[in-house]
Symmetry: C2
Subunit: 255 residues, 2 copies
Amino acid sequence: MVCPVTKIISAIKQPTRKQRELLQREELIMDTAQAMVYEHGYGHLSMDRVAEATEYSKGTIYNHFSSKEDLVCSLCCRSIKNLIDIFERAYQYEGSTRERYSAIGIGYSLYNQLHAMDAQNIQTVKNNAVREKVSEEKLVEMESLEHNINKIAQSIVQEAIDCGDLDKKHQDNVGTIVFGCWSMHYGAMLLDQSDMPLNKLGFSPVVNMLWENSNIYLDGYQWQPLSKDTDSKKLFNEISSALFDDEIALLKQSS
Amino acid sequence: MVCPVTKIISAIKQPTRKQRELLQREELIMDTAQAMVYEHGYGHLSMDRVAEATEYSKGTIYNHFSSKEDLVCSLCCRSIKNLIDIFERAYQYEGSTRERYSAIGIGYSLYNQLHAMDAQNIQTVKNNAVREKVSEEKLVEMESLEHNINKIAQSIVQEAIDCGDLDKKHQDNVGTIVFGCWSMHYGAMLLDQSDMPLNKLGFSPVVNMLWENSNIYLDGYQWQPLSKDTDSKKLFNEISSALFDDEIALLKQSS
DNA sequence: GAATAATATGACGAAACGTCAAAAAATGTC
DNA sequence: GACATTTTTTGACGTTTCGTCATATTATTC
């Protein structure tokens, strides 16, 4: 159940050559696994295949990841780190609190469209039968990452309250507001996944519905400036191109 | 890949003795599988164990369900049928369109709290790796059920528009509105599932957040009467006890 | 350069899936 | 009721994959 290598790696400050090699190999294993999932689906991912593809033995793979599920969870952690990066970019956006919060939602949609498999991995790990087999350490890591990403969203809501864009009466509802958007986006992403056929060029129709719905929702909280007093279509495009130009390009290219 | 027995059963109008026996056995298998998941988790469900517990051979089980995933999907279909029943009760509720629509949400929350494992099964089947192994027929059945349940929600929205509770300008957004609530509830349910520790007596805190959020959301659509002009806490209790008294009792009892 | 510690390997046992030839039961025919 | 034919059931079998562990290999220390 314990991963000797992981334990060593996690305690690193200034990595030695040896440790760099281990880290590098860990990356290689993860990249290989990810490619496998991307190309042939989750069902085709097996430890034996990963071992063969990386040209290491199975035992070595197990030195890095205590189980197949642990490996998938590691992929999730990497995805969440990518999401954190996106959330941070949204946080830095020069605009109203409302716009910055919306930017998070757009970034989230974008990421999930670009990396549908990542979303699928996260969904896989959320499943209790899978979760059970993930090592304690890795679960802790994931929870910590999820906590951090949540924090970013919460701070924007808090700032909105502080500057008056959101009424002070919502002070105790910061969690609820974030939870609302989170669940809506999370649910939409998962529902979208089952209906894969609808992937047209650019954003999927689900993204548009989601954008409308989140605006309605935030208007419901009277978060200023209201979307009904704004050109929300235009805002969507502005935010997309200001923050996520590279991703948009990729999206257009891949369709 | 084909299930001989299922094929026979599905074409039944007036079941003969033989067919009744097959149906009955199918129920037995499903009940056994469900109990297994409930008691020891999804990971403990195996076809061999089901065969042993039902005292039929594995081959016979496979005559009914073409794969383990097919069996789980059948459990999902049963859950969705239960949900349809709940949605229909909500549809019949004597109250404003807004209240009836809210009743759906409450029923959904309730069902998922009472049958957390059902929700987990649905989540499992949504996963592509699992979905791939479900027989075509079963997938069609599930999609049809999902379509029906969606229809119930959509008709309430439509009625709201027709009677003026919802502005006519939303005529083209019926799908979007239902999708919004659906994704929010679906996402909330899944997020709730990962945080199992928070199951206090009665409704989980997530249900409260969800209730608040859906009200805000529907207020955003200006769906009359607005929750901010109503005692929404009271409404929640009224709907719960009017429609879901039995379920509430079960919920209190199980905590 | 030898002794010791760390790491890598792949053969192995266990668990589970799904199949299929043969056995058993049910049904039909005379 | 006896025999033939069809349907259904059975469980042994082949296959895949998991995760382990004794052994082999490599690295490090003295």
